[in-house]
Subunit: 109 residues, 2 copies
DNA sequence: TCAATAATTCAACATTTCAAGAGATATTGA
DNA sequence: TCAATATCTCTTGAAATGTTGAATTATTGA
């Protein structure tokens, strides 16, 4: 991941409502959730949820798919992984002190 | 790390000049760099560098220490690690698909 | 103390972002 | 087609953010 998309994603995640939306969508996994569900979960009106979901989709961390009258939103796991990868590698240069603080689960490698 | 400081750091990093400052300071390691050096490196005036360094310090990812007439800024590796940890655990729930995309170096665990 | 250096603060301005709500659009079933 | 549902878009105003350059503060050595 290059600097520009990383900045877009960081900007998208640096807002409380949007960070909570992403956390919720990660929990929902591949089932995803509709804008209405998301709004109810993060305590936002549907128009606000829609607004922030659009921002997240533009930034590339969320995908959408119409399912009849609902639109299902999902977290893009690959993009999230790439962002963390960017932070670890490009930004932090895999600095040992940083990696040591990450408490990365043993079984991930 | 809780949600609030994570949001502060994400917000601080979601700006091109500041992201570049952090990347430079990580490269500088414990030697750190002065505001003037930082400004020259990221192509910003000294007042702009100072402004953004303050923002980074307020967010908690950068520390400062006066050394005679210069002020030395350093990246706070622990905070950066904690942010990545927050993204992996609290935000992404150690989701296998996300971890798989992180390409975390084998020898880190 | 004075001059030079390093960094910060401030004011002004433009830009962006956020929230809220009204209205518009798309989809479905009756 | 009509009503109900789900979502999106648009406008408004308030607040936050980023840039610039000038003025200010702090430190050092002559």
């Amino acid at each position: 991941m290059k600097e520009e998309p990383a900045l877009d994603i960081l900007g998208a995640l640096s807002q409380q409502t949007r960070l909570r939306i992403v956390r919720y969508l990660v929990r929902c996994g591949s089932a995803g959730a509709s804008a209405g569900d998301v709004g109810a979960e993060v305590d936002a009106s549907s128009s606000r949820a829609s607004f922030h979901l659009s921002a997240l989709e533009n930034a590339g961390v969320v995908t959408s798919e119409r399912q009849s009258r609902k639109i299902i939103y999902r977290a893009d796991f690959r993009k999230l992984g790439q962002l963390i990868s960017f932070l670890l590698e490009d930004c932090c240069g895999n600095h040992p002190e940083i990696l040591a603080c990450c408490s990365i689960p043993k079984d991930c490698c």
